[in-house]
Structure formats: structure tokens, C-alpha cells
Symmetry: C2
Subunit: 341 residues, 2 copies
């Protein structure tokens, strides 16, 4: 913005300065037809399937810029991926900024440019937004909320509660990259240069899998809490046991090394560009092939299977280790790494 | 929540503590069928009109509890009202919390209860959500983002750019209540006991006006920047002049007195439960009657009219004073009152 180097309280006033911020920063970056009309809500076409999927995420990641991404790319990917897990055709995003007085305008421009680029990659449009500015100390720089909407095609009924004994579990690529990239950047660790965040929009990958494996039970992106949370949620919702072959789970060697050094389990570390899918056994190969043929899916793998609960047993997730033993994979207890996304 | 008195970092972990927070606080308060399914996006029915309206707002108001409302009621009303201004039937909300470590759980419960009650009043459902917890000092207590979606009925085309010379401007009630209520609470001013925020969901009022005055040009809720911003936006988008009769604008005497004391123009003070409408002259009486018959519209008034720009003149808003003179009503310059919503 030509006129201001930093964000000022007046940029959140609803008055002239806010209009200038909207015109020169947000409309410049996101200028969808719906935004340019300048009304308080974006009106947009939606295929009349009769059902929508909606999701939201707030992003508070620190640092704001990290190897492989930034808070803007995350803010688009996170919500696109969550909406896409329903099988919906993701169409529109809203975007709410909470800015700290004094935030560098150049950083805001860079974040908006990253959001616009990622939205274009995901074929979604930002059609409405909001900006609040709070006094110094009221927020740490910038937090972003996005919400997303898409139309759910007829007949598509995906749910974490739909897993059945015999189903197969796939993951679309290596686990733990995002968590370790952010953490290493934050702590200035030596291995930081070789690990990049995986932040990516996966709606096109999901669409490809659904075409190849139309009876897919569910998708979920293993973000906070990692694969462990996702599979435990599936097991509980479907009342089943899920077994994972530890050897089959793709993990980059440098991520594995970092996890060992830090005492983390890669299965509990956050990802921002990976998708877990559960599919019927007879569609597993087709799903795997579709993932591998998709951008961001080249390292996809079949990593486990769903089985029936023993009588009176509780839903759980087991990991079969390379040595043939099994351990229970629990959801994370406490907090591993605050502000990872 | 039985087990925790304050919000802890672990409540944002994606692990067990977060699951407990979601189950015991959010599902308890908002338990819509879409949320209870427990997937990453809410899937819900939407009438297949082929168009949606979407809007979003983040809420950072301080104090969080004030006469006439709280941040939770604001968070629902603000987004409901923005979506409704398109003429859409508002249906669903998303909700994203950013919580500070140490935030009292009782306050969170109270806020959620207020949101649930307001959502019920507005006939909308919260179908998806997100929670982030940041370390002490990373946010001031709690910030809430909501996004909303509704279906736009066929043939409805409302826009701030649709005002035409001869149209009439209405407002649904007294101006300035919210801004002065929050400000007086914040500053501990003596008149604080008699002024309450007007925070209210106005989608039912809008629907009533649209039925009575189907050729309504546009609605907008005059929040930050007040009536001044709303009318200047309309004038610029429609390339017209708008004239307001100062005498006709409803302002509570105690709000007027506070504004005089503080040097504010009530036409620039924020509202959270008022609607501005522009309608063709021949539908003005019907629109007014519909407003007055609606909850929250008993003090509605016709306050001005739209006229043609003189050749080469720029869009502007004029106020005709009780003494017959006119002054230009500009958008707010700078920031009047940070964190008003």
C-alpha cells in the first residue's frame, strides 16, 4: 500500500482508512467478482445439489513464514482440505483477518499474495471477508480465519463413522513434515534447511480418489494430533479396531531423525498437506493409483486395515512394529507444539 | 467443564483434551446434528436455488460482557445480519474460537450459551467449528470468528449499487446504542447503566420488509463507521447523492447526551442491531410498517432520500440540520473506538 507502511488502528475503523486497506490490499489480491461488488455478503452461484459442506479454521501459526509455506497458504489449504473431506466440490472461501497495530504492510501483502496463489491452485474463490485491527499486544501479528463452502454431489455420503471391517487405510504421502518444519524453524534447529512444510490443497487429489474408488468411506487430513488423532476418531466413530503397519507409513528420513532426537512420534505430528482415506479392500489399489497419479500424492501408501472389535472391546488403534510386536496408538495427551497451524 | 477451570494449551492440541473440550463445551451448547456427526466439515441441506450468500466477521470486542449483550451474541448477530442483507434465507454458521491459555472456562460456557440462544432466535444452526489455544499474551482472552451461509431466493438482487434517485432511506431504530454502551462500560462512565447495546439478529425483520416491499434496493447494517459509512458506501456504489434529515434520525436522548459530551457524531457510531434499507418511494410506507411490526423495529423511521448527482458532482451524503442548513456527512477518518465489535 503506497500510503502506509504498517497496519494502524484506523484500518479497522469502518471508515476511510479501512476502505483504502480493502481496496488496495484485499481487493487487489483477491479481486473476485463477488468481492468487487462491495456488499456485506458475497453472493455466488452454487450447483443446486441440495446439500452443502462447510468448514472453518483459524490460523495462528508461528513463525508466519516457514520453509514450504506461510500462514496464508495454510489458511487456504486447511479449510479447502476440511471441506473436501466430505467429498464436496469446494467452491468459496471467506477470510477474516485479525491484525495487530503496527503489523508490517509488506508482510500482509506477502500473505495475501500467497493466499491468492493457493486459492487459484485449489480452484476456489474468496468471496467475502472481514478485517479487525487490535491494539499492540492484543494479538501476535496476524491471525487468519477462513471458512469454506462447497456443494456435495448427490449420493456422496462420506463419514468417519463409515469404516467397516476389511477396509483398507491409505495415506497420501510422508507424515510429520509440517510439524517438524515449523518446529525446527521456530527453534533454529540445524536440520531445518532440509525439511519443508507439506502445506497443500488436496481437493483435486480427493476428487481423483473418489472417481477411482467411488465407495470410499471417508477422508480426513491428519493435522493437529497427526495420524493418531485421525485414526482414533475413525475407530471411535465406526466402533472398529484399526491396525497400522509402522513399516508401511511413509516418513522422510530427516523427519524420522528429528522425531527421534526430540522424542516425538511421527504418527502424532501435524501435517498440512496429507490425506488419510479409508476404502473398501477391492478399491484400495485403484485409490492408491489415483493418489500416486495426483499432485502431492506421489508417496501415497497403503498403511493399514480395519478389523472387527472383539466382543466387549473398545475401539482402538494398533501399530504393528517392524519387529512383529504391536502397541496401542493413542491420541496425543497434553500439547505437543502450540500454534502449529 | 467438570475437569478444567481454565483453558489450557492442551485444549488446542488435536488430542484428548481438545476432544473433551469439544464434547463437553461446544457440542453441549451447539449440538446440531451436523456437529454431532464429528466430521471435519458440516454437511447440511440447502434449498437448491442455485445461489448462496456468504459472509464472515471476527469479533474482538472489549469488554466481553456488556449491557445488552456479549461477544457471543455479537458473533452470531453480526454474521447473520451480514448474510441477511443480501436477501438470503440465513441457514448455517461456522464458528472459530481463538482462546488464550488461562481463559476462565465459566466465561467460555457463558459465551457459548449466549451464542446458542442467539442462534436459536435467528433460526440458524452452527454446523462446524474450530478451536485454537494460544499462549498467554498471544490473544486478549477470546476472539470469535463466525461465517454464515444462506440461500438467495430466485429473483432477489439486492446491492448497495442499486439505489436510484427518488428512493427513500429507512433505518430500523435508534442509532448509536451499541457504540455508546460498550464505550461507557469500558470507561466506567456514569450514564452506563441506562444505555444497552442493541445487538440483535435482524434476518426476520429483513424478511418481513422484503415481503412488504419486494422492490427494496438494498439493506446494510451500520456497524463500524455507523450510518455515515453505510450511506457513503451506498452513494459511491450507486453514483448518487443521499440526503438525511437529521431530525428524523432516531437517537435515544441518553445516547445523544453521551455523544455530545464525548464529541461523537451519533451518525458515525457503531450499531449491532439496526438495519438501513433503501426502497423505492412507493414502497416506503409498506417497508416502514413492516419494520415497525417486527421485533427490534419499533422505532423505525424514514430518514432520507436518494437524489441525482449534479453534473460532474461526486457521490456524497448530506445531512439537513434542524435549522435548515446542510452539512456533508463523511466517512469516519481515523479510529473512533477500537474493538467495538
Amino acid at each position: 500500500m503506497a500510503t502506509d507502511n504498517t497496519v494502524l488502528l484506523g484500518h479497522g475503523s469502518g471508515g476511510q482508512m479501512m476502505k483504502r486497506l480493502i481496496d488496495e490490499v484485499f481487493l487487489e489480491a483477491f479481486g473476485s467478482p463477488e468481492l468487487l461488488v462491495g456488499n456485506d455478503s458475497g453472493v455466488a452461484e452454487l450447483a443446486p445439489t441440495g446439500r452443502i459442506a462447510m468448514s472453518t479454521d483459524s490460523f495462528v501459526v508461528t513463525p508466519r513464514f516457514f520453509p514450504g509455506g506461510d500462514i496464508g497458504r495454510l489458511a487456504v489449504c486447511g479449510t479447502v482440505n476440511d471441506v473436501a473431506t466430505s467429498g464436496a466440490h469446494v467452491r468459496y472461501l471467506s477470510c477474516g483477518f485479525i491484525l495487530e497495530e503496527g503489523f508490517p504492510m509488506d508482510d500482509l501483502l506477502r500473505i495475501c499474495s500467497s493466499m491468492a496463489k493457493t486459492a487459484e491452485e485449489a480452484s476456489v474463490r474468496i468471496i467475502t471477508g472481514d478485517t479487525k485491527v487490535v491494539e499492540r499486544g492484543g494479538v501476535d501479528g496476524v491471525y487468519i480465519n477462513t471458512a469454506g463452502v462447497g456443494e456435495v454431489p448427490e449420493g456422496v455420503e462420506l463419514s468417519g463413522g463409515a469404516c467397516r471391517p476389511g477396509d483398507v487405510v491409505l495415506v497420501s504421502g510422508t507424515l510429520g513434515d509440517h510439524g517438524i518444519a515449523v518446529m525446527s524453524q521456530r527453534e533454529g534447529l540445524a536440520f531445518s534447511t532440509t525439511i519443508e512444510s507439506d502445506a497443500a490443497p488436496l481437493n483435486h487429489l480427493i476428487a481423483a480418489v473418489l472417481t477411482a474408488a467411488p465407495r470410499t468411506r471417508c477422508f480426513r487430513d491428519p493435522t493437529r494430533g497427526g495420524l493418531a488423532s485421525t485414526l482414533n476418531e475413525f475407530a471411535a466413530a465406526s466402533n472398529v479396531e484399526i491396525e497400522v503397519d509402522e513399516d508401511a507409513v511413509p516418513v522422510l528420513p530427516q523427519v524420522q531423525a528429528a522425531c527421534e532426537m526430540l522424542g516425538y512420534d511421527p504418527l502424532q505430528v501435524a501435517n498440512e498437506g496429507k490425506m488419510v482415506a479409508v476404502v473398501p479392500a477391492d478399491e484400495a489399489d485403484a485409490a492408491l493409483e489415483a493418489m500416486r497419479a495426483s499432485r502431492y500424492g506421489e508417496n501415497a501408501a497403503i498403511i493399514g486395515r480395519v478389523s472387527e472389535l472383539a466382543p466387549a472391546a473398545r475401539p482402538r488403534v494398533l501399530v504393528r512394529t517392524p519387529w512383529g510386536s504391536t502397541r496401542i496408538l493413542d491420541m496425543l495427551v497434553g500439547e505437543q507444539l502450540p500454534r502449529i497451524c
